[in-house]
Symmetry: C2
Subunit: 587 residues, 2 copies
């Protein structure tokens, strides 16, 4: 009873204090150490407000317009010393869901997320469309006519409201959401078929995240789906998804330039399709070109002299061609390990050059501890992916490390022998500067880790050699020469050196000036390796307004594609419908 | 308490009586008017045993081998004067689910269904496969290699265990189930792409059954799916389904002949693919060629003289070509009405020739009353399609009319004006000889009805003319002349005259002798119009062993494709694994 009545009472008090605009009472409802994470509902932004002052600043600016009401507790739970509760609420323009954590009756964390716009609800379940047009109608247009019209007209004689560049999971998920919201949307993608972004990767690739984490919006994987989806199966799934969701995609189409016209508020986007140039004029432009930017190709002395094969990991397909060859992989993160194992399986001799410490975590450990929200046990407990996404979002980034560290400690203990053996090879290990593990490394820098599915044992066993902590000096015709004088013979060099920042794409497609104005994408500003401050508290520029009007970035893994596509879609829909969307920027 | 304890006690008593092989006690547990419907669990057949005598006859023959045990009640409910309960049980070879209806403590209806074979459980949910092969393996074969092998080898250098002729919903659903059970299966289909069976039909066609009724196995429609799926969207869905389920299909492949060899226990099946003849040698042959057989084309005097266009409804595509034309449709069931409306919408003048009474029910009435198990309300009550299928199956056909008649009476009352107006045009109406409506008309004859989506109003309004109760005498060069001398001018004659019986296909592909030995498919033996006796109590030859070894018939609507594919798949899997499958035939 206690756990239920406390948050219900808090919500009632909160509502009263909001209505009264009573700063004192409001601040008294929050702990000094408090966080309010808001997805659109109050701020038309994705922000975390930290502390009573920033929370009051936001409220004093936004309350009149937001007019929040109907705060209703849905369920309560206790975890540790906090009482948690889920609730629903409404604003002037929409309906939201939220979560609350109380300590000693005061709010520690508050999470509010806009979930739908009033008057623009999705037609699902009880409100789904009829499909058939019953009754008899002269000049009837059937479903196929509409689809054929869209294919023929969209982008040609009729401009989409939204153009998405990139048809991977992020582009497809967003397009599916927009379709449901009635926003006319076109995807352009350089590859021939939906799903090719996965198909063309190296042959042993499987998703590193398990199935429960990877559902697309609306159409969950069937329950006979494997835990780790092989890349070609993922490609086929996305292709089927695009068909089922009736998405309009121009494949084999390359976007060459985009410019925003401040007067007309439309973009002018040039694309090449079938050797023909089309000029598209969408109101909104989404870069869903992957969270990675352009491939990083290190410049090395002697690169032009090297006579073997050298290519970036993104171009590496299949180890079969390298049986008996000597291969050097520059880099020691996921792709480096996967490619090293693939080459070894195919009978190549492999050396990995590790330039900085790698966070290694066994896939089995992640499955045991890493994502309890996304598991068969969670499904059995009634936590579907939508609920799991909200639970995950309810924890502000600032305090996420304290949730993550105990898991890291447990994994280090369980796998102590493994880490000792791997470390003994000279392989440099990290668990994150603050020991917060992969869960934080991913949002901080989107790289720097290997989810071990077997290659680490090859390193321990000396089957894959590692050269750590030494810089590359130069290449010769047939070798990599290290700064310590070591010569590593090489028939193949793979640059598993990652990717530049996502707004490389903005620089390339729009202009370096716009890319600079927008600033970096991804990263929290944690002031840890490769994630310089200042503290931002959310992923920079992702799924939220950028400093370039009508420009959006989509990217990340399948979970992010699923969850955050909802918020990007709501932001775009609101703009299309003329719903006011003043963006609040925390200072 | 009462409703729970009674069936639990009954199950315990039943178990004891079974173990004791005590005929007297067993018979005492059943009402005199009792029914036991069994799907495979006891009989390796789909049968309904009616009365204590036939039930005991079956048990005395089968009990020793079946060894039923672990009868466990799962939930109880009360409907009318019966206490219902769901239960699970096991047999020597499998696990089952069942349902029970008690009246005054004794069994009125019992339903038992085998759901899985011990040792051959499907890998789903917690037992799903890993997908990725973790660890490092020399000579690794990835998912794509396996799929490519199947595509290249199956039916060429490696014979499928099961061959399915026909890749509509029935063939695809069965193939998906068999794939999950590890039964190597090939589908051959004459049309170029999966889903073409739907795409090539007349353009206004939508499913007449609503979305909740139409889910395929494993992959339910997303909840943004329309209520009535347009035919081309259905085609695209089935094509995506085939890809997602990794089904092996030879499209554009025509099956020309099949023969069973009693010595080798294999079929020899000739198919034409890309102008090449392949000889396939499956152990099991499934005709999933649609519940309809070959198109019925009536032979009419003067047919060769007629100068207009005449074709069967299955060949009719689009009314657009007939603006301003005079069209005669022979037949007055679903296709006849849909085509009549399509022609009218396109500005043709239309007359329908009705040869026998039609069961007409408004789509809206069916949505209100017709399928409460398959509705948004059922979903909200936790009844998914699997549970709904079992509930529907728990009612034996013999007593189904008494469940159906009150609904028919309610619909007739609600729509009394509509029926009066339609009858006043001369249109001949029926509600089934025993007023049991479409729910019985469908299993009895699979035809004879129109689910009204608007054409009836056109008839009432005189926009579509109907000529009823008069035979056609002959055709002239440009008209249909009726036996009463009426001349109906015609530029187009559509024969909406239905299809021959399903075992036409067996006659055509195998031999008339085998077709005769197998006997008719479909129908209950209700001794009503077009469903002659003797009483069979189940659909003849559907989804169960036929009198031709290793020959199976699949067909029917999407609900049947979904539910009964499970039982066909289990029967085929059991035969492949050498599980004894003695088929019990009720006498």
């Amino acid at each position: 009873m206690h756990s239920d009545s406390q948050p219900a009472q808090w919500l009632a008090d909160f509502h009263d204090a909001l209505v009264a605009r009573d700063k004192g009472r409001l601040q008294g409802l929050f702990l000094e150490d408090c966080y309010w994470r808001d997805f659109l509902a109050f701020t038309w932004n994705i922000v975390t407000l930290e502390g009573r002052g920033p929370i009051w600043d936001m409220l004093s600016e936004r309350l009149d317009e937001v007019s929040p009401e109907k705060w209703r507790m849905e369920s309560a739970d206790i975890s540790g010393d906090a009482v948690g509760a889920w609730f629903s609420f409404e604003t002037a323009v929409g309906r939201g869901k939220g979560h609350l954590r109380l300590k000693d009756g005061r709010c520690w964390t508050l999470f509010t997320a806009l979930r739908e716009l009033k008057g623009h609800e999705e037609k699902r379940g009880p409100t789904r469309i009829a499909g058939a047009q019953h009754g008899v109608v002269k000049g009837r247009r059937v479903w196929l006519d509409g689809r054929n019209d869209d294919k023929a007209e969209l982008g040609v004689s009729r401009q989409p409201y939204c153009l998405i560049v990139g048809g991977g999971q992020s582009g497809l998920a967003l397009a599916a959401r927009l379709k449901q919201l009635g926003v006319s949307t076109l995807i352009v993608d350089a590859l021939p078929r939906p799903g090719d972004g996965w198909r063309r990767r190296y042959r042993s690739l499987c998703l590193h995240d398990p199935v429960w984490y990877d559902h697309m919006p609306y159409l969950p994987f069937p329950d006979n789906w494997p835990i780790y989806t092989p890349k070609d199966k993922m490609g086929d799934w996305l292709e089927a998804y695009a068909s089922i969701m009736e998405l309009d995609i121009w494949n084999a189409t390359r976007c060459t330039h985009a410019a925003f016209d401040d007067a007309s508020k439309r973009w002018t986007v040039e694309v090449e399709r079938d050797g023909q140039t089309f000029t598209l004029q969408p109101a909104q432009l989404v870069l869903a070109t992957g969270m990675a930017g352009v491939a990083n190709r290190p410049v090395l002395k002697g690169q032009d002299r090297f006579r073997g094969i050298q290519h970036h990991s993104s171009e590496h397909k299949d180890g079969a061609a390298y049986a008996g060859k000597t291969c050097v992989i520059i880099g020691a993160n996921n792709s480096a390990h996967d490619i090293a194992a693939d080459l070894w399986e195919n009978g190549a001799s492999v050396t990995m050059i590790q330039r900085s410490p790698t966070l290694v975590v066994k896939s089995s450990a992640l499955q045991r501890y890493g994502r309890p929200l996304y598991s068969e046990a969670a499904v059995a407990a009634g936590i579907d992916s939508d609920r799991a996404d909200l639970i995950a979002a309810s924890i502000p980034y600032r305090i996420l490390p304290q949730f993550a560290k105990p898991t890291v400690a447990r994994i280090r203990q369980d796998d102590a022998d493994f880490y000792a053996q791997l470390g003994a090879t000279g392989f440099m290990l990290t668990f994150g500067e603050d020991e917060s593990g992969i869960g934080l490394m991913y949002p901080r820098r989107g790289a720097g880790y290997y989810i071990d599915v077997g290659a680490s044992q090859l390193i321990i066993d000396g089957q894959i050699a590692v050269k750590s902590g030494v810089e590359i000096d130069h290449l010769t015709e047939n070798a990599v020469v290290m700064a310590d004088g070591t010569t590593l013979p090489a028939d193949l060099i793979v640059y598993a050196t990652g990717y530049g920042p996502m707004n490389d794409w903005a620089a390339q497609l729009i202009s370096p000036a716009v890319a600079e104005q927008v600033g970096p994408c991804w990263g929290l500003g944690s002031d840890t390796a490769k994630d310089p401050g200042p503290w931002e508290g959310e992923l920079r520029n992702m799924w939220k307004p950028t400093r370039q009007e009508a420009l959006w970035f989509q990217g990340g893994n399948l979970q992010q594609a699923r969850h955050f596509s909802l918020y990007t879609a709501l932001q775009i829909k609101a703009r299309m419908e003329g719903v006011p969307t003043p963006v609040y920027h925390a200072t």
